[in-house]
Subunit: 308 residues, 2 copies
Amino acid sequence: VRVTAIAGGTGAAKLLRGLAACVAPGDLTVVGNTGDDAEIWGLHVSPDLDTAVYALAGRLDARRGWGLRDETFRCLDGMAEYGAETWFNLGDRDLATHVFRTAALRAGQPLSTVTQVIARRLGVEARVLPMSDDRLRTRLRTPDGWLDFQEYFVRDKTQVHVLEVWYDGAGVARPAPGVVEAIADADVVAVCPSNPVTSVGPVLAVPGIVDALTAGRARVVAVSPIVGEAAVSGPAGELMRSRGLPVSPLGVARAYAPWLDVLLVDAGDHGLARELARLGVTAVPADILMTDREREVALARRVLEAAA
Amino acid sequence: VRVTAIAGGTGAAKLLRGLAACVAPGDLTVVGNTGDDAEIWGLHVSPDLDTAVYALAGRLDARRGWGLRDETFRCLDGMAEYGAETWFNLGDRDLATHVFRTAALRAGQPLSTVTQVIARRLGVEARVLPMSDDRLRTRLRTPDGWLDFQEYFVRDKTQVHVLEVWYDGAGVARPAPGVVEAIADADVVAVCPSNPVTSVGPVLAVPGIVDALTAGRARVVAVSPIVGEAAVSGPAGELMRSRGLPVSPLGVARAYAPWLDVLLVDAGDHGLARELARLGVTAVPADILMTDREREVALARRVLEAAA
């Protein structure tokens, strides 16, 4: 089976590792969110793409859920010494990714090309694509003004009230080469348990991607990032509320309803099955927390079975 | 006494440390060569300015003569993993300097401003100025074509024949703010034992600097980078030959004759005193090798005495 996964950050990394254990590498494509890309110290940082690549390379720091294992932070210490902002933790080895990517982008390479070079060099055989080579940035309106996603997420640790989420650049962004085809040609599209508003939302905001999901022959299976009435991790709850979505698997189903076939939900949420069915979404109970590697693989299998 | 030092790299670092031990910090200005600045991985690297700043901060790696003490090279390893060129060794802590500088330059700050911020943050009280905020690059013509200085010096380890040296951009470069004044107002101008062609030469190539040396009231004292018929270190010999200069203190005196008052030479070279006198240069014998910290300070004292 050919699988295309739509991926944000931490939660996605777990499911991607699981999928990579179940699918031939040549049959796995990851479409990664770039709405939370940022310029840090003048370097182009792509947190979600890097998390996907590092996870598939077996190099992700499992405890933190971001960055590389066995990392050091000497450059960061130096930047602090110079009075630069250091709320975004860039490790020394990780820095090579950002320096290499920034140089390639400045030399005119598209993000998709340099992402593929980085992935291949780290031994990742699956294809990792940014949703777009064009600039699309998730911006959040708060009572004190607009924030970039990383300012909201890392600097302010999500401790501000979000009134509105805006995908800056979505109007003119085009899917990166291969993205629409990867969705159209897939047998299964897996939507990772990522934030529907700021991880999956930016991907869907790229014109052409929802059309590909709607028109494609693939079965589309999502894993709920919400258990009960709370996000497994991160600010998905608050952000879903800002969109007027209920913070529950039902809210996830509503956000994805036009093209979603199956939503894997926690067994405790299976009571929502009838409401989901009304949206045309089949609820399938599953152990969705992925607290260890075995469960990552088991959940990936469950995704593939649910699509069958 | 107010001292302004014209400085290249390794040899300069030693004399600068010596001068800093003899002169009040507010009375020492360093005018650093930027002709060997380079873009490495898209980052603006200023090797001579950094060597001066690190030396004055007591952070220079004494064994290598460049970069920072106790350095790690994790980012460099990562760049190698990505297939980037890694012949220029950038350490992780050192990288902060280049990332910080590059971001400041891209934000429109002049090199002199960011250099001063870096120096102050590292606790350097002396003033360190680039010779120019404008781009001037030392280029070397070889039988196989033109090279940037760092390609010649670091990548090719000076193992190519140099036919010609050209200061690209010298025609339009202006001295950085404060440079002409620092020369004009100094009691002593110390020309460090740096390569006359590729370290001091680019400084002199900036229009206005030779005029300031000629017109200034300062006594100008140089330390010969040549002992006998060979450079103390580096490719000064080959490069002086390419300019038609004899590889000896006499060649140094010829290069600097229009504005040089005193040349400190190795005792074994004092026989050249009469020839130097004919150029208007007083030869003063000195222990110019600076093999330890005490000798750095002793030589700095000798420079100040010779100027008196």
